[in-house]
Structures are given as structure tokens and as C-alpha cells.
Subunit: 195 residues, 4 copies
């Protein structure tokens, strides 16, 4: 009950950030529809990766709030900063989509940087709550709590690695961003366990 | 209760995708207001068809969630992909509105393709849940479940047919998209039965 | 309970349509900030009138749903069409803001036309439900129901009159749109009574 | 219960206004991605300040609604006007981001003016409800109510001062806007007490 208002705030930001992504998919001017639709495939790829990443994060966000039953000032501050990063995602997505054919390294690195910061804030959110069961409900199963902690550990290094890989090849970076999203879709060990 | 978070996620995406459609209705520059307002009637048509299609789909989505009372990993994955397609709809709508006077075949086919994929994901969602009553609530009436299954069967072939008809005539395709939306508004057998 | 999904759908569309209005307030290029901010006052006026109109309509919408406790197919169809008109409002608002100094008659008439259609669909919604207490809850006070009916009767003719007045003067029309919004803010007899 | 519909309306407007802010962060054309990303740092600053300001306001908004258990016509009118100002914030944010290198005084003053009006409407909202415990729940602790009142008093003069400081230096004003947001994040005395 006490966490309800924060969950509502978060749900709104997640849903809108996800749906706004489509506004940045645009047909180029001066080419036929068919040609244009094929030419902008980087926009589709960027759209799909960002949508899946935020979508999965939203689902997991609900899972962690089932373990938490109180808030404090620090947790709230972390939450607002985390959501500020989530709502920022449409910008690097647009930059990536617009520059995948040109100046792709910088765009892919910037995208990866944003994802890394987001994963970082998300980990902060959870580990602040979970350390010493600070905000964890009394009746929450410690095995579930530890399981969530385990599944969140690789997030930050994975995204940092994917971001850095942009300097080798922006295509590799893109593949890794897609791979991490897919990994969290398929694994969802968190969610599966929580259900 | 367990499905609540997914319903909230879905509700947000449906509502925002629908409302964003208006951002793509724009007055052409360099003509009088009256002339411009009349000239962009394809934008109104595309707006209305997409709004009605998503609106009805939302209503039916709530109906199917009254039959379902648990989730699993596969169902969640299908859901996220389905919502990714719903949130994509404003893009083909814009393409269709901008090209109904010019290069209309490709635009209408692309619109129909998106609708077909959306109908397909929607059918996957339902049939995954309903087959062998996998995720169906124990107290759900089998006649209602079978009724829903029956009413969803024609969706995919109807949209595929409408998409293909764009190669004959983009006007015919547009008429069929409108017709299918109208059919689901008027019929809503699903909803009527559930009420 | 049965009406909850429709209320959620409606709430989403109302909130988003209202908030999207700001995207159309834009500083003109090629002038100083101070000059530009003063020059676009028609944008502020259009923003305020549309925001207040939809805001009040949303509040009243909740009031009528406290009298209603069931749905049918026709009511749902009317609802979806009504929301399609609500979500359409940002477009005529933008047209009005852009053309208040030039070609204002057509813009003001189009705005008024949209408002008239919206008022009309809103009245349809209520009178369909209220006639013969078709969808009215058994324990709803008939005096409240009749009071709501009385307060909705003037909406359509008022907006039609304001729209027609654009041919005399677009300023008069603007004043009347503002006046009607203000009237429903201050009066809110509906809401006052319902509280 | 009676206040639920107003809270839903408010939640929607807060969440959407916050998330729309990212649409105004844009890469300049004609420069490399790296150079462009660095060049638009005023956009990031404006984004962060506005996001934090609205985010904190939302959280506090929920706190005050825990003390309130009824509405009246005047309170509703104040609420709609308040939300109209909240939904307006993306516009001065965009103006500030676009003009921090050029014509910054006017842009910073306009931003500060909007914040002052928002703080003012927010104070109206609370003091109207709290004066003589007009709309306060019978079981609300008077010490909490007085604490909220105390913490809201400095808002309007602080923002007015920050707005005025734009005439000395737009950088000073920007710093003060950030400082006030940070102050309310860290203090959140309201929230801390309410938890």
C-alpha cells in the first residue's frame, strides 16, 4: 500500500517511454515508400531493442516491488533518478537509428552508455532495498531475494562490455544490446521464480 | 491479481498508442485552412481506422484477461512482442495517410502487413492461454472460452486478405481495413457474451 | 466493477490528449525569445481552452460513471467513437493556434465543429445510458440522474452557436469557447451535486 | 475514495508531462554525433531539472492527498488549473534548452516564471484544503498537516527569487532551479514525515 504511489509513477513512465519510441521511426523524404521502408531498418532494430529492454525491465520492476513493503527517502531519490534515465532512452534510440549508417561508433557507444547507467541505477535500486533486508517484507522468502540479487549482478558489466564493443564494431554492439534484451526475455529467471 | 501488472502495462501501451495517432495529422503548408482541412481527408480516415482497431482490441484484451488467472514465461514473452506491434501502429498509419494520393499500394500493403502481424500475435496470445485451458481460470465457462476462440479465428486471414488486396487497389484495401474494424465494433460477440 | 476497464481506457485517453496539447506550443524561429513568447499568445489561449474543456469533461465523465453500473454493446460503440473525438482535439487546437492571425474564420469554425461533435457524442453517451434508466444503477437517485440530464442539454447548442459565430468574428468564437469552458468549470453543478 | 478520480487525472498528467520532456532533446544537424552530444548539454540540464522538479512534486502530491478525504468545487477548479501549469512545463524547458547559449536571460526568466506559477498553484491547492482543516480527514494528525504547511511556505518566494536572478545571470538562475529541485529531493521532509 505504501509503495503504491511509487509503482503508479513508475508504471506511467515505463509505458510512455516505451510508446514514444515509435515517434522517432520516420520515412526518409525523397524516396519511394518501398525503398524508404527497407532503408530505415536500423530504426526498426533500435525500436525493437529499446522496447524489449524497457518492457522486460518494467516486468521485473513489478517483481521486485512484491518483495518490498516500505520506502525511505534514499530509495525514493534513487527511484526518481532511475526513472529519469528510463525516460531518457528514446533519445539515444533515435540517435542510434539515425546514425547506424554513418558515425555509428559514437551513436552505439552513447546508446550503450545510457543502458549501462540504467542498469546501474536499477541495481542500486534493488541492492539498496535488499542489503540487510532493509526494505524487504518480513514474509519475503530469502531464497527469492537472493535469486533476484544473483540475476541482477551481471547486468551492469554486460552493458558496459556491449558499450565498449562499439569501438570494435557498432554492429557487434548492436548485436550485444539485442542479445542482452533477448537474454532477459528468455531467462526472466526472476519472473519465473516469482510467479 | 497475478495478471494485474501485465494488464497495467498493456493498458498504458494501448491508450498511448491510440492517442499518439493524432500527432501525425498535420495541415499541409502553403494552402488555405479550408482547402488544407479537406485535402488531408486520408489522414482522418487512417486516424479513425487505427483508433477503432486498437480501441476494440483493447476492450477485447480485457475480456480475455477475465478468463485468465495465471501467467507463465512464454505467455509474457508473447505479450511483450504483441505490445511492441501495437505501439508500432502509429508508424504505418502515418505512412498510409501521407501516401494515399501517391505510392498508395506500398503504403496500404505495409499497413495491412502490420495489422496482420498484430492479429497474429493477438491470436498467439489467446490460443497459447486457451489450448488445454493452460492459463484459464478453473471457474471459467468453457462455452465462453470456445466462443472467444471461434471469434478470433478469422482475424489473421481477414487482415492478410485485406493486405493482399492492396495490390489490386489501395482503396479496396482501405475499405477492407475499415470494414474489419467496423465488423469487430458491431459484432463484439466476445464482449457482448462476456457482459 | 464491470465498467472499470472502460473507465481505465477513457482515463488514459483523456490524460494523454490533454498533455499532448503542449507539443503544439512552439516558439517562432527568427525572433527574440521575449518577442516570440509574446507573439504566440494565441497558442496559450488555445492550449488553456482545450485543456480546461477536456479536464472538466474528464471530471464529469467520472460523475456519470458513478450512476452507471452496466454496459452494453451500443454503449461501448458510442464510447469508443466519443474517445476518438476527444483524442482528435489536439489537431483543431493546433490549427486554431497557428491561424488566429491569418485565416482565422476557417480555423475557429473547425475548432467549434470538433467541440460540437464532442459535446454531441458526450450527450449520446449519457442519454443512451439514462433513457428509461437503461444502464443506471438500481440505487442511483433519480433526482441526480435528471439533474445530470438537465445540465447536459445546453452543451450541443452552445458549441454549435459558438462555432457558427466564427463567421461573424473569430475573436467572438474564441471568447465563447473560453466562456463555455469557464461556465462548466464554475458551474460544475453536476459535480457539486454528485459530491 | 471520493478523491480517487482526481488522483488518477493528476497521476496521468504528471507522468506524461515528465516523459514528454525527452521529445525536446534533439541532436543538432550538421555536426558529428560526438560533438553534437556534447554541445547540447543545456538540453540535458533542462531535462534533468524539469524531470526532478515534476517528479518530486508528484510524490508530494500523493502525500497531501493522504491528508485530504473530500473535495469541493473550488478545490477542483484549483486542481485543473494547477495541472494545466504542470502540463505546460515542457514548453519553457524546451525554450530554456534552445536558448541557453543565446538570449538566455529571457528564456531563464520565462522558465522561472512558470515554476513560480506552478509553486503558487500548488500552495493554493494545499492551503485551500488545510485552512481550518476545510478538506482534511478527521483522523489526520494536525502536526503532519502543520508540517506540510511549513514546508510549502518557502516554495513560491524561492522560485520567484530564482526567476528574478536570471537578470543577473542566467547561469545563476539555472543553478538555483537545480538547487531547489535538489533541496526538495533531499529534504522531502514532507514525505519522510508522512512515511
Amino acid at each position: 500500500m505504501e509503495t503504491a504511489r511509487l509503482e503508479t509513477f513508475s508504471d506511467g513512465v515505463f509505458a510512455i517511454a516505451t510508446t514514444l519510441l515509435i515517434l522517432d521511426v520516420k520515412l526518409p523524404t525523397g524516396s519511394s515508400v518501398t525503398h524508404g521502408l527497407l532503408q530505415i531498418w536500423p530504426s526498426y532494430a533500435a525500436y525493437a531493442i529499446s522496447f524489449l529492454t524497457i518492457g522486460i525491465m518494467w516486468i521485473n520492476h513489478h517483481s521486485i516491488f512484491r518483495q518490498i513493503d516500505r520506502l525511505d527517502r534514499t530509495f525514493l531519490t534513487i527511484s526518481v533518478v532511475f526513472l529519469m534515465v528510463v525516460a531518457f532512452v528514446p533519445f539515444p534510440t533515435r540517435v542510434l537509428a539515425d546514425h547506424l549508417h554513418h558515425d555509428a561508433t559514437a551513436a552505439a557507444f552513447f546508446y550503450g552508455l545510457t543502458m549501462t547507467v540504467m542498469a546501474c541505477m536499477y541495481a542500486c535500486l534493488w541492492f539498496y532495498a535488499a542489503t540487510g533486508r532493509r526494505l524487504i517484507a518480513a514474509d519475503a522468502d530469502q531464497r527469492v531475494v537472493s535469486g533476484i540479487s544473483r540475476s541482477y549482478l551481471p547486468g551492469v558489466p554486460l552493458y558496459a562490455l556491449a558499450a565498449a564493443s562499439a569501438f570494435l564494431s557498432s554492429w557487434l554492439a548492436l548485436g550485444l544490446f539485442a542479445g542482452i534484451a533477448l537474454f532477459y526475455v528468455l531467462e526472466s529467471s526472476l519472473f519465473g521464480r516469482a510467479s
